[in-house]
């Protein structure tokens, strides 16, 4: 029996999937698509593995393989190692790249024009004062007269320098303390985790080792995860990494993830997937910055309430059930060893505080990057148009917030021609009078799909030129040959296959358009309900800050044209990009921002849209381009003559 088992295992092949670095073992002859499923990776197919849709394209980097030819894949790509996962059998140990899951095109907001102009004016503080510090000490050698214990002598020295009330020490530090203090003639580096006047020694090393102090700031989104690796001695961002949240294979939005977690073992699996995602990113970032993982002592994580529950392996079901109460709003500091995150074993993890089940730490963190809390007269609106859309309105005196289930459409997920803002994504697209498109692709490659900003442009252009009606349905008479049949119904040809990366026609389907309209309607109607609740009209808003995964640029005019954002003077809008990530970075840099984030969280009044009787009405009103009530969009009415 044992013999037989081990033989089977011997015959199995190892398949390694990049960029996730996930390895699975499968019996010979298994299709790569099944191997992907075994690995719980988010590769999708439309045709269900028949080899016709071409969605499951992968690239084999190493190892021999056998693949059936398919009309959905050009010979040129096939010769470069590309292949359809469903048509490929595992015959060797192989390494496979999943090319759809490239790094996101994230530039830190720190370098953005907005942040450069506003950084002294934001609600958080931009300073370097992290809660883990590295202190260089010179301990005088013990003598018969000065025979205090090693630890006591460290405490004595620290108290002298830092005026601390209480000093604790981790067991792991004690274990190596005696040798460490003697190794380098008492020249040691102490790593302290500080909380007010209390401190805990979390690591000690001889100065000669040259140990550094690094931290990571992470945005754990429902669809995408991004992080900065930061030098906590000079606030420099050393590397940035991002990928899809691997949990996406278990459901695209938070509700389906919560449902997924309801069977035994599944919650643990979701936790493992997000830890795996984060660890791969940490590995990638530290490799590129040549940083030792054991030098990462602090992590600041922001994410919506569900994502943080799943990260911490906490039961998420009560988020979904009335009266929608989460396990926590403010998470105590967590130890990295409890989560298995790739950083120093004694590393500290801090999660931004949430307001409630549907307004999470990504929002409190995001608000830190805006000037909203600096002014007590002007009213600002903050919109985070992620998979779970959140909105905040107010100023220094008051803040109201609500959340809506917008869906991942503008992050490029759930849309046939959509993709995250990574290499190969169309980020800007314009229609010429000839009906041809002119577009700009991230990194200038052949296009693979459209990211959020491109999708906003596309919808606006199709609407402006009359190729879709106000309900988002194609005007077939006008579009003529550009209307093509797809497996998912009618589609509109954006670019011919010969000009596209995958060699397949780039098509937006009527379903995609409905999906985008539903998403924009969810955001806009939440906006209306929120403002009506505080008795303000859109005209009373002085500035609008927009966060979300649209990409680097967002054409504000087009977001208004499709009715995603209210029709206000264009100069009132500021597009921030990933504000959750920047907020996490600010919190990582300075302990003060933790307190500010807590203050913000407590100040916010949360409105539950589920119980708001007017929401459904506002939503159906917004399911139109730009809106059923055109009076709300005077500039669009005028330009398009509606």
């Amino acid at each position: 029996m044992t013999n037989k088992k081990s033989r089977t295992e011997e015959n199995n092949f190892k398949v390694k999937f990049l960029p996730f670095e996930t390895i699975v073992e499968v019996p010979p002859g298994t299709s790569l698509l099944d191997a992907v499923k075994t690995a719980s990776l988010p590769l999708k197919t439309t045709c269900g593995g028949k080899g016709t849709c071409g969605d499951c394209v992968i690239q084999i980097i190493e190892g021999t393989y056998h693949s059936k030819p398919s009309a959905a894949l050009s010979d040129k790509l096939a010769s470069r190692g590309f292949s359809l996962a469903c048509q490929t059998e595992v015959k060797d140990n192989i390494t496979v790249q999943l090319p759809q899951f490239r790094e996101l095109d994230i530039k830190s907001i720190v370098d953005s024009k907005f942040f450069k102009e506003q950084r002294d004016n934001i609600s958080g503080v931009y300073e370097l004062n992290p809660s883990v510090k590295k202190i260089e000490l010179l301990l005088s050698p013990p003598t018969l007269e000065d025979n205090y214990s090693d630890l006591r002598r460290i405490e004595r020295q620290l108290q002298k320098e830092l005026a601390l009330k209480k000093i604790d020490c981790e067991y792991s530090v004690l274990k190596k303390l005696a040798q460490t203090v003697r190794k380098n003639k008492g020249k040691i580096s102490i790593f302290l985790s500080l909380s007010g006047k209390q401190a805990t020694v979390i690591d000690v090393a001889p100065q000669s080792e040259g140990k550094k102090l690094y931290g990571i700031a992470c945005d754990v989104g429902t669809t995408t995860v991004a992080l900065h690796l930061v030098d906590l001695q000079n606030e420099k961002i050393l590397a940035t990494a991002s990928s899809l949240n691997q949990q996406i294979a278990c459901g695209e939005d938070i509700i389906s993830r919560i449902n997924f977690a309801q069977k035994p073992g599944r919650l643990k699996k979701l936790q493992e997937l997000i830890i795996l995602t984060l660890n791969n990113l940490i590995k990638k970032a530290s490799k590129s910055a040549k940083v030792s993982i054991s030098d990462i002592y602090l992590a600041s994580v922001s994410g919506n309430t569900t994502m943080i529950h799943l990260l911490l392996n906490l039961e998420p079901r009560y988020i979904r059930e009335e009266p929608y109460v989460p396990t926590f709003n403010q998470v105590p500091t967590i130890l990295s060893r409890d989560l298995g995150l790739k950083m120093n074993n004694e590393g500290r993890i801090y999660c931004s505080p949430a307001v409630g089940s549907y307004v999470g730490g990504d929002i409190t963190a995001g608000l830190l990057c805006t000037p909203i809390l600096r002014d007590s007269k002007k009213v600002a609106l903050f919109i985070d148009a992620g998979t779970n859309g959140e909105l905040v309105v107010g100023n220094k005196e008051w803040l109201m917030t609500c959340a809506c289930s917008a869906g991942p459409a503008f992050e490029g997920s759930g849309i046939k021609c959509g993709m995250p803002a990574s290499e190969g994504a169309i980020e800007e697209i314009k229609m010429l009078d000839s009906g041809e498109f002119k577009y700009k692709v991230i990194n200038g490659t052949k296009p693979q799909g459209l990211c959020g900003s491109g999708l906003v442009d596309l919808l606006a252009e199709l609407f402006t030129f009359g190729y879709i009606d106000r309900h988002g349905k194609f005007n077939e008479k006008k579009a003529g040959k550009k209307i093509v049949k797809t497996e998912e119904g009618k589609g509109f040809l954006i670019e011919e296959g010969k000009n596209c990366y995958w060699g397949k026609d780039l098509i937006v389907t009527e379903n995609d358009i409905s999906n985008l309209i539903r998403t924009k309607a969810a955001v806009f109607s939440a906006c209306s309900v929120l403002l009506k609740n505080v008795g303000l009209g859109f005209d009373k808003i002085d500035s609008v800050y927009i966060g979300g995964g649209f990409g680097q640029h967002l054409n504000i005019n087009n977001t208004i044209r499709i009715g995603l954002l209210p029709d206000l003077k264009r100069e009132k809008f500021h597009y921030l990009g990933n504000s959750s990530l920047l907020g996490a970075y600010l919190i990582l840099l300075s302990d003060k921002n933790k307190d500010l984030a807590n203050e913000i969280a407590e100040k916010m009044t949360y409105i539950e849209l589920n119980t708001e009787p007017t929401y459904m009405n506002e939503f159906t009103g917004a399911l139109f381009l730009p809106h059923t009530d055109i009076k709300l969009f005077p500039s669009v009415k005028q330009t398009l003559n509606l």
Binding site: D469, R470, H471, K473, N617, T620, G621, L623, F624, T628
Partner: protein
Amino acid sequence: MNFEIPKEVNTGKVAEVTIGATSEQGGTRSHTVTIGGSTSLPFHFFEGQHPHRPAVAMEVFDKTPKKYLDSLMDYFGDVIDKPGEMAKKCVDEYGAELISVRLEGTHPEKGDKSAEEAAETVQQVLESVRVPLIISGHSHFEKINKVMKKVCEVTEGENCLINYVETDNYKTIAAACIAYKHTLVAQSPIDVNLAKQLNILLTDMNFPPERIVMDPLTSTLGYGLEYTYSIMERIRNDGLAGDKMLAFPMLINPGYESFRVKETWAPEKEYPDWGNLEQRAAYWEIATAMSLLLTGTELLIMYHPRAFEVVKNKIIEMYESKKES
């Protein structure tokens, strides 16, 4: 003491829609029926103009409905499978002001009759009565588009009320209505915004607004009538407040809706508490129709001859009181 009734002044007006065409107008009807035109809430004669009273239609079928009520068979049993004769009976004996021809039998799962057969049925009815016609379809998009196109074509100039189009399937039928000069029902599922959106889509394709009737897809007593009532009320209020895209006359189907629910067919033997079945069936339809009349109905398609009579007489009575006041 003199009491002055406070009056609501509205800026909007419900569109006036005419159904049918006489020989001078290119059709063969003896007269036309015009509905709409109100400038205040229904029956608020003291507040505004109400030039046309709501019209009441009866319905005939291209195929005997599976669950046609025994209580109706007493009235129509001899003609139920002869739409022409049944239409004649509805008009001559009961006083139907319009006839609706329901083409359910063309549904692929309910008989799959061809477009030509449907056109024949409609022509039969056209020949047997002189009142304007309503042509009522179903929700199988592909088939009904074929059927309505054909029916529109063979009834060119008659200005029938083509019932209905919805947001996901409006272009083909609306285009046929424009081409062959018919009036159209825009149906939307109990929602003010969705109703308005469809009307915008229709007018965006240059459909003449004076030829649109709205069906807000109402239910019957006991099945969410209050909700449909409030939606119709909001549609009418918005219309009267000046929103032209909601200021269209409204059609309801108290017959079709009432005769689908248990209360109108469950036998007295099983439910002695519910009382006499025939009375109950008629009352159910009356209660539905009368309630929705109060919230802005201009056109009703009814089934039960006794219910029809009560509702029509009540409307006439109320409009006569207008003259007196």
